[in-house]
C-alpha cells in the first residue's frame, strides 16, 4: 500500500519520542471523519490513518518540540503512548514523518 518509500530512518524500536519530528514536506495530510488521508507527492502513494487522535498528533508535530508533546497535545494518555509510538515509528519508516533538523535547539 503506502509504505514503499525506502526507509532512511532508524528502526521502529528506536523511534525517538523525545525528539522533534515533522511531516515530510512532500506529504499532505487531510483530516477525515475516520482519521486522515495522507498523500506523498514523491512516491504518489496514498495512505490512511484510521484514528483521529493519531491524525491530530501528526498535525501537532509541527508546533511541538517532541513527538511525546505532540501526542499529549492530541489527548493521548501515557498509558496509550506505546501504541501511538509504534504508529509513529511506522510513519517514520515509510518516510511520512522525518526528524526535525535542529540547528539551534529551538522549535519553531
Amino acid at each position: 500500500m503506502s509504505t514503499d518509500a525506502a526507509p532512511d530512518v532508524r528502526p521502529a524500536r528506536e523511534f525517538g519520542l523525545d525528539e522533534a519530528w515533522r511531516l515530510d514536506e512532500r506529504v499532505s495530510l487531510r483530516p477525515e471523519r475516520f482519521g486522515a488521508l495522507l498523500y506523498h507527492f514523491g512516491t504518489r502513494k496514498l495512505s490512511f490513518l484510521t484514528d483521529p487522535r493519531l491524525s491530530a498528533a501528526v498535525l501537532a508535530l509541527a508546533e511541538q518540540p517532541s513527538a511525546r508533546a505532540a501526542c499529549a497535545a492530541a489527548g493521548i494518555s501515557a498509558a496509550e503512548l506505546p501504541r501511538y509510538r509504534r504508529a509513529l515509528a511506522a510513519l517514520a519508516a515509510s518516510g511520512t514523518i522525518r526528524p526535525e533538523e535542529r540547528a539551534d535547539g529551538t522549535a519553531d
Partner: protein, 396 residues
C-alpha cells in the same frame, strides 16, 4: 479494511483526486472519445477562473488533478496552469496524445515530483492504433514517449483503452512500456461520448474479457488499471489494483465549462451535480449537491442482489449501464455472468441516453441527438474489496 471503505462510500471532505477536462478542443477525433471532444467551447473557464479553482483545490486539499480534455496541451495557458497547480500543492497528472511533448518540454517535465504524464495509445501497432485515434497518432505518441524517455522521465504512463482489436496486444504494449521506462495503464472502453457509437464493435467479446482477466491476474502488479475493471471481479478473484467505483464519493469530473459530474464517464445531465461558477464554487457542489448526497447513501443491488458475484462486482459501472440503456440497479452490460447481454437484448434500439455536450469536429452543436431521459437512480455502492489496492492505484 472493510470499515474504512464503508467510510469512503459515504463521501470524503474533498475528492482524493478529480478529473479536470481543461478543454473540449482536440487535434484528434478518436472514434471512442468519452467526452465527444473536438471543438473548443466558447464558455470554457478562462485562465483566472482556472487559477481560482486551483486555489480552491488547494484549500480543500485535493491531492492531485487528472487533467485531460480534449487535448489539454493545446490550451495556450496549459503550462502556466500546470505550474500554478504544482506551486499550490495540487499535483498534476495529465493525459495527452503527445502532440506538444517536445524534447524541451519532456526535459522540463522530468524535473518535477508533482507532475505525471500519461500518453494515450490504443494500439501496439500503427494500424490498430490509427484506426481508432486517427492517421499519424501512433507516431506522435511514440515520439512523445521517446522524448520523455530521453529526458530521463521514468515511470510516465502508457495509457491504453482496451478494445476488441488491441486486447491481443497486451504483451506488446508491455514491451513498449518497458523499452521506454514507462508503466502500462489499461482502462476499460466506456460507451460514453462518441464511445457509444462504436461500443458494439469495439468492446471486448466475452472470451476476450476472460482472457483480459487472466492477463490482469498474471501481470496486475505491474500494470495500472484505475477503477476500470472491477466488473471482472465477478469471475471470482479480484484483479489487483481495482475494485472501486468512487463516483461522487471520492472522485468527480470538472468539465471545461465548469460543470461538475459524478465521474469522467458520465457526462450527462443525470449526473451533473452543479457548476464551479455558482455560489460557493466547487466546494459547495462537492459538499452539498443532492446528486452527490444520493450517491453517498447506502445503495441496493436491485436485480443483481441475488447474484453470487454481486459482492465482488457490485453491479459494475454506473456509466456503462446508463449509456447502454440499462437500469442502474441492474447488471453491467459486460457482466461476466452474461446477464448484461440478456438485459441489452431488451433495450429498444436508439433509446439509450447519449452524453449531452457534443463538441465533435464536423457536427453542429446540438444536432441530431435526442437524449432520452430515464429515471435517475443511485448506482451500486462502492466495492469493498482491496480498497488500498484500488486507491493506491487511483493516485498514480
Amino acid at each position: 479494511m472493510a470499515p474504512l471503505i464503508d467510510e469512503f462510500q459515504y463521501g470524503l471532505e474533498a475528492p482524493i483526486c478529480l478529473t479536470w477536462e481543461l478543454t473540449y478542443a482536440c487535434n484528434l477525433s478518436c472514434v471512442h472519445c468519452l467526452s465527444s471532444s473536438g471543438r473548443r467551447d466558447p464558455r470554457e473557464l478562462g485562465t483566472a477562473e482556472c487559477k481560482a479553482l486551483i486555489d480552491e483545490f488547494e484549500r480543500m486539499q485535493v491531492f492531485y488533478v487528472n487533467i485531460g480534455g480534449g487535448e489539454p496541451t493545446v490550451r495556450s495557458d496549459f503550462w502556466e496552469l500546470v505550474d500554478y497547480a504544482t506551486a499550490h500543492h495540487v499535483g498534476v497528472k495529465f493525459s495527452t496524445n503527445g502532440v506538444r511533448i517536445t524534447p524541451k518540454t519532456a526535459a522540463r517535465l522530468a524535473g518535477s515530483d508533482y507532475v505525471d504524464v500519461q500518453i494515450s495509445l490504443d494500439g501496439a501497432t500503427e494500424s490498430v492504433n490509427d484506426a481508432v485515434r486517427g492517421a499519424g497518432s501512433y507516431r506522435t505518441a511514440l515520439q512523445a514517449m521517446e522524448n520523455l524517455a530521453a529526458a530521463g522521465f521514468a515511470g510516465f504512463k502508457l495509457s491504453v483503452v482496451v478494445t476488441r482489436h488491441n486486447v491481443g496486444q497486451l504483451d506488446a504494449f508491455e514491451e513498449i512500456a518497458e523499452r521506454l521506462g514507462a508503466q502500462l495503464r489499461l482502462t476499460r472502453l466506456r460507451p460514453s461520448g462518441r464511445g457509444a457509437d462504436v461500443w458494439d464493435e469495439l468492446h471486448p467479446t466475452a472470451d476476450q474479457q476472460r482472457a483480459l482477466y487472466e492477463w490482469l491476474l498474471e501481470h496486475g502488479e505491474r500494470v495500472l488499471t484505475g477503477d476500470s475493471f472491477f466488473h471482472l471481479a465477478g469471475y471470482g478473484q479480484a484483479p489487483p489494483g481495482l475494485n472501486l467505483c468512487g463516483a461522487g464519493r471520492v472522485v468527480c469530473l470538472v468539465d471545461p465549462i465548469g460543470d461538475v459530474y459524478a465521474c469522467p464517464f458520465a457526462i450527462h445531465d443525470a449526473f451533473r451535480a452543479g457548476n464551479v461558477r455558482g455560489d460557493g464554487g466547487f466546494a459547495r457542489v462537492w459538499r452539498e449537491s443532492e446528486l452527490f448526497a444520493d450517491l453517498r447513501r447506502p445503495q441496493t443491488g436491485g436485480a443483481c442482489s441475488a447474484c453470487s458475484a454481486y459482492d465482488s462486482c457490485r453491479g459494475g459501472c454506473m456509466a456503462a449501464k446508463f449509456f447502454t440503456g440499462l437500469p442502474l440497479d441492474g447488471p453491467d452490460p459486460e457482466c461476466v455472468r452474461g446477464h448484461g447481454e440478456t438485459a441489452l437484448a431488451a433495450v429498444a434500439p436508439g433509446t439509450a441516453p447519449r452524453s449531452m455536450p457534443d463538441h465533435s469536429h464536423g457536427r453542429a452543436a446540438g444536432s441530431g441527438r435526442v437524449p432520452v431521459t430515464i429515471g435517475r437512480r443511485p448506482p451500486e455502492r462502492t466495492c469493498e474489496e482491496s480498497p488500498l489496492a484500488g486507491f493506491s492505484e487511483a493516485v498514480r
